[in-house]
Structures are given as structure tokens and as C-alpha cells.
């Protein structure tokens, strides 16, 4: 680039001030978020719900390589009791065609078709312990869950699935894991045979963050004034 006017200290100062302003705004926004009010709701599953205890926990199975099945003895159907989605996803071969119990929150949409319904059932901490992330102050990582096929009219028992502002129905299922489910075109699924709702859907209160609202209104007022002044100046010209 060829220079027509060398840079002036005042220009550098302006750039530095702009950066500091931007950084200040970032800190202000983050500070407002950190002090956001939380609902304090309790989303733990009540003991009276009689939920099965988690029996099978697997951290990692390692890759399933040809001629090296992860579990040599998978003949016949074994009953693994209650499993986590993490265990099933880490070891699809281990659980393939096996009977399991699974507990989690129905999230997303209930896709009714072909004489049944597909649902996504999460068993992460947002589903079973702390509730939706936006309403509580606790963040527990990414979601984890399983695709579940509910045959017949089983889905009719469901209330509202989880989503923004809602913790959906928490259900306990028993069924068979399919490592490659033909019904799903090759996905890892749980085909349920029984289901019961252990905790009905509940609204997750998200209190309005007044400081955030005030900041928004203040900034909107400033920008509206800027636009107004700009229009007047342009009109005078």
C-alpha cells in the first residue's frame, strides 16, 4: 500500500479508545448476564416416581473392529436394567438387540407417523436434575439422549415435549436397543415396549432480567437519538 498521509498519534489513540469502549461493553454485557435472576425451581425427579436405579454405566468401549466384537457373549437377549444414553452410544455393539430400561425427558417434536411416533429422549442433567439451562444458573455440558420409537398410541400419554422454557415429560421406558434400526434407515434407536410418565412436563420459569432490559432500552434510546440527529443534519444539508 502506498501512503498518502502517515498515521497520526490521535488516530491510534482513537482506535485504542474504541477498543477499550468495546471491551467495556463486552464486560458490562457479561456482568449483566452473570447477575441474571434464576427461577430456583427444583427439577429433580420425585422419589415417589419409583424410577429404576442406573445399573449399567460404561465410560468407553473402544472401537468395534472387524473380528473383535466388543462383547463376545451377546447371544440371546440380556436384560441390562437401566442404562444411560452415553453408555449405549459409546458401545452400540454391546447393547445391540438387548433389553434395557431408559429414563429421560422427551424433547423437540413428537413425530407421529407409520402407526407410532419418533421422539428424542434426553437423559442428561438438564432432563433429570437441574432443568433447562436458561432458567437455572447451572450449566452441565451438551445434551445426550436416544432416539426412541413409541409404537401404537403410546405417544398419546405424552403431554408437552421439552423445549425453550419447558422441561418436557420425563418418561421411563423399557425396550430393545437397535444398533442399526431398519425402521430408522440405519440409526441407533431404542424401540420401546412399555412407557410410563415419571414426571409431567413443567414450565421452566425464566425471570425477566431487568438489568439486561434496562441496558437494551438505554442503548436503543442512544441509537434512536443518533439516527434522529443524523436525519436532521441531513435535512439541513
Amino acid at each position: 500500500m502506498s501512503a498518502s498521509t502517515p498515521i497520526r498519534p490521535a488516530t491510534i489513540a482513537r482506535v485504542i479508545v474504541s477498543f477499550l469502549l468495546a471491551a467495556g461493553l463486552v464486560f458490562a454485557i457479561w456482568g449483566v448476564r452473570q447477575n441474571a435472576p434464576t427461577s430456583g425451581q427444583d427439577f429433580t425427579i420425585p422419589e415417589a416416581a419409583d424410577v429404576a436405579e442406573l445399573e449399567t454405566t460404561v465410560e468407553r468401549c473402544g472401537r468395534t473392529l472387524p473380528d473383535q466384537p466388543a462383547l463376545p457373549d451377546t447371544d440371546g437377549v440380556r436384560d441390562f436394567g437401566r442404562v444411560s444414553s452415553t453408555a449405549v452410544v459409546e458401545c452400540p455393539d454391546l447393547f445391540d438387540q438387548q433389553s434395557v430400561v431408559y429414563v429421560g425427558e422427551v424433547v423437540g417434536d413428537i413425530l407421529r407417523r407409520d402407526g407410532g411416533a419418533w421422539v428424542l429422549v434426553n437423559d442428561d442433567d438438564y432432563a433429570l436434575e437441574v432443568g433447562p439451562a436458561g432458567s437455572s444458573a447451572e450449566l452441565r455440558g451438551a445434551n445426550s439422549g436416544l432416539s426412541v420409537w413409541l409404537p401404537g398410541d403410546m405417544a398419546d400419554e405424552l403431554g408437552r415435549p421439552g423445549g425453550p422454557g419447558w422441561r418436557g415429560d420425563v418418561i421411563q421406558l423399557s425396550g430393545i436397543i437397535h444398533r442399526v434400526d431398519e425402521l430408522d434407515g440405519g440409526g441407533l434407536t431404542l424401540r420401546a415396549s412399555t412407557m410410563h410418565v415419571v414426571a409431567p412436563a413443567a414450565a421452566a420459569d425464566t425471570p425477566v432480567n431487568r438489568a439486561q432490559l434496562a441496558l437494551a432500552l438505554g442503548l436503543v434510546a442512544i441509537v434512536a437519538t443518533m439516527f434522529s440527529v443524523e436525519r436532521r443534519v441531513a435535512a439541513r444539508r
Binding site: 500500500m1 407421529r112 425464566t206 439486561q212 441496558l215 441509537v223
Partner: protein, 508 residues
């Protein structure tokens, strides 16, 4: 290389950054009604903050800094280099205020991932993300896609391969791309046509899949923005697998391929010049790489023992390869299943597809099929040189814009340099990922590293909200470098260096 930076140049660069923030602010205003309809008041105030800051910056840039002159090519590179981090700071605001980001850095990564059309995510609890924040997350992919398409038609012209001339060229953009305005109009036409066709096809497929009627527009918008921009964000933690629908997968395959096709080729197809489009080196290279990757993945899946029937194997394999090759990152497989149940060969095939990526002058990332094709043509040329007599003149040509072009040493050098830069970034990234997440092995780290550098967003389960800071930092750098194909970042570094070098004296 002697480089000098003037006050006007800084004004120009800062002015355009401000105007880009203004565009983001306008986008936030456009998304705000979603928050009103959904009754998400905290999301609404977050979007209003974003809009106010963006529009305020845009107005200031126009009023105080607007440069009344053309942008030079090197300035264009600097603008582009800065654009992604600057826009990401503002685009991060709704994420940071949603309560789903663990830190400001996480919100920044999410924004950078959307704007670079990568699709990797570190937000907590996506399945409960407010509708307005989800809509914002999907929308910024479009802004990122348009930015890179315009860059592809302007600063990423073949001239930009002359890295040594980055600061000496002074080429004015309107001269380097004389047909830009016409091309842009065609881009809009093609984009609108795909939006209508894709939106209708997705809506029908979603209805068939059993998605409740009132929810179809939201899902259709989310899927279309992800597929056509090759961004890959999803409104469900299970991505496309949550729909369990072959018809949705089929429409998405078409949209992803459309997103990864160079816009000049779209225009050729629009005009019915199919033969010219097919003969282009980009098309042929993409077809060869895609076929190779598909065969590798299908053979790998067959060997893994997971699939016993051909149809599910083909359906899963095809979708994943298209998603990887087009650098979209949508998935029909749970990320950890890629590591736990797909063996070693199939993920390696996906890595190959991700590393090469789509076409130049499209929204796809990666090394780009054209460059890969040119490298191979270069290898053939050298082989012929060895085999033919010394006095034989060996000339290798390739089809570009319907005309044969001679492959020169300069071409090979430029393409080779780019390939080397990508490979180095893949490797260094993988090593840092291993350092930051030592419970994973090198193959898994390589998958994640290539995915980030090629702006794919397909994950094998390493990067997540709870990942270490070093891992997240390296992923941000990889997404930025990969999206800009390194040169714009180098230009930015040179620009900043030149500011530092100049004597700070007043001569105004």
C-alpha cells in the same frame, strides 16, 4: 516487502467493519419479532442490545469514517481478515446473554462457528435454546455465507494467489472483477430460486415426517439455512437424525450440494450451459474426490460390521459423505457413534472428504476440489516429463470457465503452498487438540482438527461445552484461518505490522 499504512486506509478498514456491524444489527432487528412471538423477553432484550450496538456502529462508520474512494485489493484482504473476529464479538451477544454459554469465549466461538459456516457448537443444552436465539444462530450462517461468496468474487480472485504482491498490487476491486455487479445480481436470483424451491421441498418433507404443522416453518428455515449456507447448525442436539426421514435427508443432500457448487457454475446451469459446467475442472475434481470418499466410507462401513443390509449402509454413508464433502456438517449419526461403531476406514473417508471440501467461489470450506485437481494434473505432468524424451514439450491444460488453460509452474506453486498450509494446520491443530483432550486418540483428534479447519462442523465428540480453553482457542483459530484460506489473515498481520513500524508523527 515495504508496506506503509496511511490514515485513510485505517479509516477505510474501520469504516467497513462498522458497516458490517450495521448489517448484523439490522439482522438482529429482523430476528427480534421471533422473540416477541415466542414471548422470550430476555432473548428480545439481548437482540435489541445487539441491534443497537450494530446499528450504532454502522451509523458512526457511515457518518464519521466513510471513505470516498475505492477499496484496493490489499485493503479488501485486511477488511476480510478483520471481519470475522469483529462480527463474532457482536454476534456473540445473544449467545452470551442466553444463559447457554459457559463464558464469553464460548459465545464468541459459537458466533465464529456460525459466521465461518462451520457449525461446531459449544453451547450448553441446545434442546432448550430459546427460539429467538436459535433463529439468530441459524441466521448468522447466511451472513457468513454471503460474506465469503462476495469475497470469493472479489478479493479471492486468482490474482490473490500472488501472496508476494499482497501489499504492492494496489489493484482496485472494480477493475479486478469487472462483472461483479452483474454476477451479484445473478447470485441474488439463484439464491432466491433455491430458497423458494428448498423451502417448499423441505416443508413437504417435514410434513410427511410428522412434524406438527405449526412447527414446520421454523424447522424448514433452520434446515435450509444450515444446508444451503453449508453452515451445519441444527436446532436439535441430534441434528438431522432427529427427523428419521429419508425424504428430508434427500432434500438436504441436494441443498448441501447446491451450497458447495461455485456460484459461477450455478449461473452456467441457470443459463442451461450444462456441458460447460460439467467440463469445468472444479466439477470434475469434486466428482472424483466425492466418488473416492464415498467408496472408502461404504467399504469402511461394510468392514465395521455395524451394517448387515446394503440400504441403511448406503443411506447413512451417502448423507455423511455429502455433508463432509460440502463441509456442511449436518449429521444423521450421533457423533460418538462415528468413533465407537464406524470402525477406522469410514471416518478416514470422511476426513478425506472434509479436507478437500467443495468448490472455490462457493460457501464450502476445505482445500477445495479445484486445487486438488490441479495438484494431480501437476503430478501427471511431471510423470509425463520423466517418461517422454528430454526434448519433448509437455503441456498440461485444464478447463476453466469453458476454455482450456495451460497449467503453469506458478499455478502448481500457489496450489501447493495452500495445500501445505492446510495440512500443517490440520496437524498442528490435532496435536493441540490431543494436548487439550488427552483421553482421545490421534485419529479422533485429526477428525476434529480437519473438521474445524475445513469449516465442516462434523464432530466426533471431542469439542463440546466442557472442553478445555486451549482446545476451544485452537478451534477458533482453525475456523478463522480455514475460512479465509490463510491469505487474508497474513494480510491483516502485515497491516498491523505496518502500523507498528511507521513513525508516529503528525503531518496532517
Amino acid at each position: 516487502m515495504r508496506t506503509e499504512t496511511s490514515r485513510e486506509q485505517i479509516r477505510t478498514v474501520v469504516s467497513i467493519q462498522g458497516q458490517l456491524l450495521g448489517i448484523l444489527g439490522a439482522l438482529a432487528m429482523a430476528v427480534a419479532p421471533v422473540a416477541v412471538v415466542a414471548g422470550e423477553w430476555n432473548a428480545l432484550s439481548a437482540l435489541l442490545i445487539t441491534a443497537a450496538i450494530g446499528l450504532g456502529a454502522g451509523l458512526t462508520a457511515r457518518r464519521r469514517l466513510l471513505a470516498r474512494r475505492d477499496l484496493t485489493w490489499s485493503e479488501g484482504m485486511v477488511v476480510l481478515g478483520l471481519a470475522y473476529p469483529v462480527m463474532s464479538v457482536l454476534a456473540a451477544v445473544p449467545f452470551a446473554m442466553s444463559g447457554h454459554a459457559g463464558s464469553w469465549g464460548d459465545a464468541f466461538l459459537e458466533a465464529m462457528s456460525g459466521l465461518t459456516t462451520t457449525g461446531l457448537s459449544v453451547l450448553h443444552d441446545i434442546d432448550h435454546l430459546p427460539h429467538a436465539v436459535a433463529a439468530w444462530r441459524q441466521s448468522i450462517q447466511i451472513i457468513g455465507a454471503i460474506t465469503i461468496l462476495i469475497a470469493g468474487l472479489t478479493v479471492f480472485t486468482p490474482r490473490s494467489q500472488k501472496a508476494s504482491n499482497l501489499y504492492g498490487a494496489g489493484v482496485r476491486l472494480e477493475r479486478s472483477v469487472p462483472g461483479f455487479v452483474t454476477t451479484f445480481r445473478h447470485m441474488v436470483k439463484v439464491g432466491v430460486a433455491w430458497t423458494i424451491a428448498g423451502g417448499v421441498a423441505l416443508s413437504l418433507a417435514l410434513a410427511v415426517a410428522g412434524v406438527p404443522l405449526l412447527r414446520i416453518p421454523f424447522h424448514a428455515m433452520a434446515l435450509f439455512t444450515s444446508a444451503f449456507s453449508t453452515g451445519g447448525f441444527s436446532v436439535s442436539s441430534a441434528s438431522v437424525a432427529s427427523y428419521h426421514s429419508w425424504s428430508i435427508e434427500l432434500v438436504l443432500i441436494v441443498l448441501m450440494l447446491a451450497g458447495a457448487i461455485a456460484f459461477p457454475l450455478h449461473i452456467l446451469l441457470w443459463r442451461g450451459e450444462v456441458r460447460r459446467a460439467v467440463r469445468h475442472v472444479d466439477t470434475r475434481s469434486l466428482a472424483v474426490v466425492f466418488s473416492t470418499a464415498l467408496v472408502v466410507v461404504l467399504v469402511g462401513l461394510g468392514r465395521s460390521g455395524a451394517f448387515t443390509d446394503a440400504l441403511p449402509l448406503l443411506r447413512r454413508g451417502l448423507f455423511q459423505v455429502v455433508s463432509a464433502q460440502t463441509t456442511t456438517g449436518l449429521t444423521v449419526v450421533e457423533p460418538r457413534v462415528l468413533a465407537s461403531d464406524w470402525g477406522l476406514i469410514a471416518p478416514a473417508g470422511l476426513v478425506l472428504a472434509m479436507a478437500i471440501g467443495g468448490m472455490r467461489r462457493s460457501t464450502a470450506g476445505g482445500v477445495k476440489a479445484e486445487r486438488f485437481g490441479l495438484i494431480f494434473r501437476g503430478i501427471f505432468r511431471e510423470m509425463r516429463r520423466v517418461l517422454l524424451p528430454d526434448h519433448a514439450l509437455v503441456v498440461e491444460t485444464y478447463q476453466h470457465k469453458g476454455r482450456p488453460r495451460i497449467l503453469t509452474d506458478a499455478h502448481i506453486r500457489a496450489v501447493g503452498t495452500m495445500l501445505l498450509l492446510f495440512m500443517t494446520t490440520h496437524l498442528v491443530g490435532a496435536l493441540v487438540i490431543l494436548y487439550g483432550a488427552d483421553s482421545f486418540d490421534l485419529t479422533e483428534a485429526m477428525f476434529e482438527s480437519v473438521s474445524a479447519t475445513s469449516n465442516v462442523g462434523m464432530s466426533i465428540g471431542i469439542l463440546g461445552p466442557m472442553s478445555s480453553g486451549i482446545l476451544k482457542t485452537v478451534v477458533v483459530l482453525q475456523m478463522w484461518l480455514g475460512r479465509l484460506e490463510f491469505m487474508a489473515v497474513f494480510a491483516l498481520a502485515g497491516f498491523l505490522w505496518s502500523i507498528r513500524r511507521l513513525p508516529a508523527r503528525s503531518t496532517a
